[in-house]
C-alpha cells in the first residue's frame, strides 16, 4: 500500500513549474508563486507568534546564559583593565624581571586600583595561574599608600609652594600645552582626579594630590620635559625613590620572574588559560605544559565523572528493566499502584532522602547492622558504603531510577504480547523469545532512559556532594566549588563548556552508533 501512494506524491511541485517560460498565474492574475508565498507567510507568522513566548524564554534562560558562560571562559579583561599602564610598559621590556619603567607604571596602576578596591580581584584572578599572586597583590595594595614616594611631594612643595596647591594643578591640567609636555603626569593626575570625584566625592581642585602624581611629575621632568607655565624646578638634585626597590622590599615576589611571566601571559583581553587549566595544562615559559602532579585533577575528575555516570546508567538499566517489565505486564490497577512506588523518590525531599541513605548505608547503619546480625560480616569488617563512590552510585541510582523506568515502561507497554507469543509458537523457549524478540524492541526505551539518566548523572552535584565523600564527587562539584567558593568563574565556565562539549560529543557518537531514531520515550 505504501508503494501505491508514492507515485501520486507531490504532483503540484512538478506541475507548478512547467517547461514553458511563462510563469504560472493565480486566478486573480497575480503570480502563483507570489500568491503561495503570501499565504504561507501568514501561516508562518502565526506559527512564529505561537512559539514566541517559548522562544523568548529559551533565549533568556538558556541561550544567553550559555553564551555568557562561553564568553566568561575566555574573557580576561580584568588584567588589562586593572593594570593598563603596566601591561603597556611590559610590552617594551622583555627582561625576566622588568626594569624601573614597569614598576613605575605598576605603582600608578596599583594606587588607582586600590582606591577602587579592584586590586584584590586581580590578585585572585592571577592566583588561578600562579599561586601566590593573591597575597602579592593584597599585600601591595595594603602597603602601596605607605611607599616612600611622599618625598617627591615634599621636595616639590619645598621647591615651590605652587606645587602643593591643588587649585594651581587644576589650572595647569586644563592647559593642553602642559598636558602634551607632561604625559605621565597628565595620565596620573587624570586618574587621581577621577577617583577623587568617583570614590570620595571630593573636588580635585581642593584636595591634596596623591604621591603618585608627584612621582610622575618627577619622572617627566627628569626626562627633560619643558612644560610651559609651570614654575621651573630643577629636579636633578632631588632625592629619587626606586619603586622597584620599594616593591621588592614589600615582597620579594615582585623581584622574581614568576609574577611577571604570569602578567605577560595573561595581559591580553582573551585567554585560553581557563581551558588549559581545565585539562590540567598551563602556559609556561616554553609554551603549553602539564601542570605539576599535585595540581593535575581535572582530567581525572572528568574520567571519574564519565565512569561513574556510565556505572549509574548501567545499574539503572539492571534495576529498572525488570521493574518496567513487571509494570508493563501487570494489569492497569496494580501497575498504577506500583508506579506510585516508582515515583516515590520524586516526592521526597532531598533532605529526607539523604538522611535515609545515611541511616541505611553508614557503617553503623541499618544494612551493616543487618549483615553483622546475620553473620555475613564481622563487626570489624563493616562495609563502607557512604562517603565514597559506592555511596554516590547507590544514591544517584535511587534518584535517577524513575528516569530509566518511565521511558522503558512506556516503550514496553507498546510492545504487543503477540510478539512473544509468536516467537514461542515458532519454537523459541522463554529466554530466546525474550532475548531475540522482546528485548530488541525494548532497546529504544533503554536508549531513551540511558540518555536521560546519563545526562542527568553527568551534571549532578548535590547528591555526590552529600554522600560521595572526596572520592565520589563529580566534575560538577568542582564547577560548583569554583562558582560559590573559589569564585573562579572563568574556570567554572571553561569546565562547564568542556562538560557540555563532552555531552554533545557523546550524543553525536550515540547517534552514529545506535541512531537517535532508536530512542523512544513512548510506545
Amino acid at each position: 500500500m505504501a508503494d501505491a501512494t508514492i507515485t501520486g506524491g507531490l504532483p503540484t511541485g512538478r506541475e507548478a513549474r512547467p517547461a514553458s517560460p511563462e510563469p504560472m498565474l493565480a486566478a486573480d492574475g497575480t503570480l502563483l508563486r507570489a500568491s503561495l508565498a503570501r499565504s504561507l507567510r501568514r501561516q508562518k507568522a502565526r506559527a512564529l507568534l505561537l512559539i514566541a513566548p517559548l522562544l523568548l524564554f529559551i533565549l533568556v534562560t538558556f541561550v544567553l546564559p550559555i553564551g555568557d558562560m562561553l564568553f566568561r571562559s575566555v574573557e580576561n579583561a580584568i588584567v588589562p583593565e586593572t593594570l593598563p599602564r603596566t601591561v603597556a610598559a611590559l610590552r617594551d621590556d622583555p627582561a625576566e624581571v622588568p626594569g624601573e619603567a614597569v614598576f613605575d607604571a605598576l605603582y600608578t596602576d596599583l594606587v588607582v586600583a586600590e582606591e577602587y578596591k579592584i586590586h584584590t580581584q586581580l590578585g585572585t584572578r592571577l592566583n588561578y595561574e600562579f599561586g601566590g599572586a593573591s597575597s602579592l597583590f593584597r599585600g601591595a595594595g595594603r602597603h602601596v599608600g605607605k611607599f616612600d614616594t611622599d618625598v617627591y611631594a615634599d621636595q616639590f612643595g619645598d621647591a615651590n609652594p605652587a606645587f602643593a596647591d591643588p587649585g594651581r594643578w587644576a589650572a595647569w591640567m586644563a592647559d593642553d600645552a602642559v598636558r602634551a609636555a607632561l604625559p605621565q603626569t597628565t595620565d596620573a593626575y587624570d586618574a587621581w582626579a577621577k577617583f577623587t570625584v568617583d570614590v570620595h566625592g571630593d573636588d580635585p581642585a581642593e584636595e591634596d594630590l596623591g604621591d603618585f602624581v608627584y612621582a610622575a611629575l618627577y619622572r617627566d621632568l627628569a626626562a627633560g620635559a619643558q612644560p610651559p607655565g609651570l614654575p621651573s624646578v630643577d629636579v636633578s638634585g632631588f632625592e629619587a625613590v626606586s619603586l622597584k626597590q620599594q616593591f621588592v622590599d614589600d615582597d620579594e615576589g615582585w623581584g622574581e620572574p614568576e609574577i611577571w611571566t604570569t602578567l605577560r601571559t595573561f595581559s591580553p583581553r582573551f585567554t585560553a588559560g581557563y581551558y588549559l587549566n581545565a585539562v590540567d595544562l598551563k602556559i609556561g615559559p616554553q609554551g603549553i605544559e602539564l601542570r605539576e602532579g599535585s595540581d593535575r585533577i581535572y582530567i581525572q575528575l572528568f574520567i571519574r565523572t564519565l565512569i561513574l555516570s556510565v556505572t549509574i546508567t548501567a545499574t539503572c538499566i539492571l534495576l529498572g528493566y525488570p521493574v518496567a517489565f513487571l509494570l508493563a505486564s501487570l494489569p492497569m490497577r496494580s501497575a498504577n499502584l506500583l508506579m506510585i512506588l516508582v515515583l516515590l523518590p520524586f516526592w521526597t525531599s532531598l533532605l529526607v532522602r539523604t538522611s535515609a541513605w545515611k541511616v541505611l548505608l553508614q557503617q553503623q547503619g541499618v544494612i551493616n547492622d543487618l549483615l553483622v546480625w546475620a553473620g555475613v560480616l564481622s563487626d570489624s569488617g563493616r562495609l563502607v558504603m557512604i562517603n565514597n563512590q559506592t555511596g554516590t552510585i547507590i544514591a544517584m541510582t535511587h534518584i535517577l531510577l524513575p528516569f530509566m523506568i518511565l521511558p522503558l515502561y512506556s516503550v514496553m507497554k507498546g510492545i504487543p504480547p503477540s510478539y512473544v507469543r509468536a516467537a514461542k509458537s515458532l519454537g523459541a523457549n522463554d529466554w530466546t523469545a525474550f532475548w531475540r524478540v522482546y528485548f530488541p524492541q525494548s532497546v529504544p526505551g533503554i536508549g531513551a532512559g540511558s540518555i536521560l539518566v546519563f545526562i542527568l548523572a553527568i551534571g549532578y552535584y548535590i547528591t555526590p556532594e552529600l554522600v560521595g565523600g572526596t572520592k565520589g564527587v563529580f566534575i560538577s562539584n568542582r564547577i560548583a566549588y569554583h562558582i560559590s567558593d573559589s569564585l573562579n568563574w572563568g574556570l567554572a565556565a571553561a569546565l562547564g563548556t568542556i562538560l557540555l562539549a563532552v555531552v554533545l560529543l557523546l550524543y553525536w557518537a550515540y547517534d552514529r552508533l545506535v541512531g537517535i531514531d532508536n530512542v523512544k520515550l513512548g510506545g
Binding site: 500500500m1 516467537a423 514461542k424 509458537s425 515458532l426 519454537g427 523459541a428 530488541p440 524492541q441
Partner: protein, 367 residues
C-alpha cells in the same frame, strides 16, 4: 485434502473447561475432535470462547479442567514452544526489528537448522506466498496483504502439521480478504496441513472450512460442514448467526414424523420441519432462508400453507433482488430472488402471497 486420514483424531478436546476468575466459565465442557488434514473454523461472536480455545491449543492459556491431545499425546503441560504448532496472529506479529527473511528464518534458527537448509526453506516459503522479492524488506515497509503473506509463510516454514490462525484477515479490506481466503485455503490444501481457524466472519468460515464449529456462550452450538450448517442449523442461534434468516415465532399445534404445524402469533398456520421441537404446545421460532421463500404461486406445491404479505421495500442488488416484506407481524421479513428475465419485480405496497417447502422451514427452539 486427504480423505483417508480423516478418521484419525489428530487434535482432541475432551471435557475442556476454562475459567479466568474462578467464578464463571468462558469455555464450558468442550469436546472436539479434529482429524488430520482438516480445515476447521471456530466461528462465533466475540466472547464466545473461540479464541480461548485456540489459545489453549497453542499453549498460551492453560485448561482449567479437561484434556487437550495432539496426535494422541496429552499436551496440557507442554509449553507452547514444544508443541510445534504454527500460528498466524491477528496483527501478524511480524518481528519489526528483523527483515522478512530473518522473520522466516527465526523458527528454523531456534531449531538449530544449518544455514544452507535454512536459506532454502525460507526461499521456498517465500516463493509459496509469492513474496520472494521482499526477503530483505522490513515488515513496516510492506502493505497489510504482504505482511499477511509473510506471517503465513512464517507459520508454515518449519513445516508444522497443525497451523492455528487467529482472525488473520481481520485487518484487510474486503477485496484483499477474499483473495487471501482463497489463497490460504489453496495453500493448506496443497500442503495437507491441519488448520484451526478462528473468525467471527461467517462468510469466511463458510468459504474456507471443511467443518465449522459455531461457538456461543462457551459451547459449540453446532459442528458441521458449511452446507449443513447453512441449510440445516440445529438451533435458532446457528440459524441466525449463519447467513441471512427470517424468523417467525409461534406454537406447535400438530406434529408427526418430519412435519409439524405451527400457529404463528398472528394466528396464521404454517408448515415446518420440526428440528428442536418435540411436543404440541412447544413455543418455537421458525427459520426460513430468504432465497427459499417463493411468491410465485405457480412454483408452490398446491397443499402448501401460504401467508399474506405486503411489500415494504424493493432493493435492486445487481445479481439479486432483495425485497422487504411485512409478514405475520414481522416487517423485517426478507426475500431474495435471482435477477432473471422472467423474474417479477415487486412494488412497495403490493399485497402478495408467499410460501415455501415445509422442509425449508425449520421449527427451532424459541430462545
Amino acid at each position: 485434502m486427504v480423505q483417508a486420514s480423516r478418521d484419525a483424531a489428530f487434535v482432541e478436546f475432551e471435557r475442556v473447561q476454562k475459567s479466568y476468575d474462578g467464578q464463571t466459565l468462558v469455555v464450558k465442557d468442550l469436546n472436539l475432535t479434529i482429524p488430520k488434514g482438516e480445515f476447521l473454523t471456530m466461528l462465533g461472536p466475540s466472547g464466545s470462547g473461540k479464541t480461548t480455545c485456540l489459545m489453549m491449543l497453542a499453549g498460551f492459556e492453560t485448561a482449567t479442567h479437561g484434556e487437550i491431545r495432539l496426535a494422541g499425546r496429552n499436551i496440557n503441560d507442554v509449553p507452547p514452544h514444544k508443541r510445534g504448532i504454527g500460528m498466524v496472529f491477528q496483527n501478524y506479529a511480524l518481528f519489526p526489528h528483523m527483515s522478512v527473511a530473518e522473520n522466516l528464518a527465526f523458527p528454523l534458527e531456534v531449531r538449530k537448522m544449518g544455514q544452507a537448509e535454512r536459506e532454502a526453506k525460507v526461499k521456498r516459503a517465500l516463493d509459496m506466498v509469492q513474496m520472494g522479492k521482499f526477503a530483505n524488506r522490513r515488515p513496516a515497509q510492506l502493505s497489510g496483504g504482504q505482511q499477511q503473506r509473510i506471517a503465513l509463510a512464517r507459520a508454515l516454514v518449519f513445516e508444522p502439521e497443525l497451523v492455528l490462525m487467529d482472525e488473520p484477515l481481520g485487518a484487510l479490506d474486503k477485496q484483499l480478504r477474499e483473495h487471501m481466503q482463497f489463497e490460504i485455503k489453496h495453500i493448506s490444501d496443497n500442503l495437507g496441513i491441519t488448520v484451526v481457524y478462528v473468525t467471527h466472519d461467517q462468510t469466511e468460515a463458510l468459504t474456507m472450512s471443511d467443518r465449522v464449529a459455531v461457538f456461543n456462550d462457551g459451547r459449540i452450538q453446532q459442528l458441521a460442514p458449511p452446507d449443513v450448517l447453512y441449510e440445516a442449523p440445529l438451533n435458532s442461534f446457528v440459524a441466525q448467526f449463519i447467513g441471512e434468516n427470517n424468523t417467525l415465532t409461534g406454537v406447535v399445534t400438530a406434529i408427526d414424523q418430519g412435519r409439524c404445524v405451527v400457529r404463528l402469533d398472528s394466528g396464521d398456520e404454517i408448515d415446518a420441519k420440526p428440528v428442536n421441537v418435540s411436543r404440541v404446545g412447544d413455543r418455537t421460532k421458525v427459520s426460513i432462508r430468504p432465497e427459499r421463500v417463493e411468491f410465485n404461486k405457480a412454483r408452490l406445491r398446491s397443499d402448501a400453507h401460504t401467508l399474506r404479505a405486503r411489500v415494504e421495500e424493493f432493493i435492486y442488488m445487481g445479481d439479486m433482488f432483495r425485497t422487504r416484506l411485512s409478514v405475520a407481524g414481522n416487517d423485517e421479513f426478507i426475500i431474495k430472488s435471482r435477477n432473471a428475465p422472467d423474474q417479477t419485480r415487486l412494488q412497495p405496497g403490493q399485497e402478495i402471497e408467499i410460501g415455501w417447502l415445509p422442509e425449508d422451514c425449520r421449527a427451532l427452539d424459541a430462545a
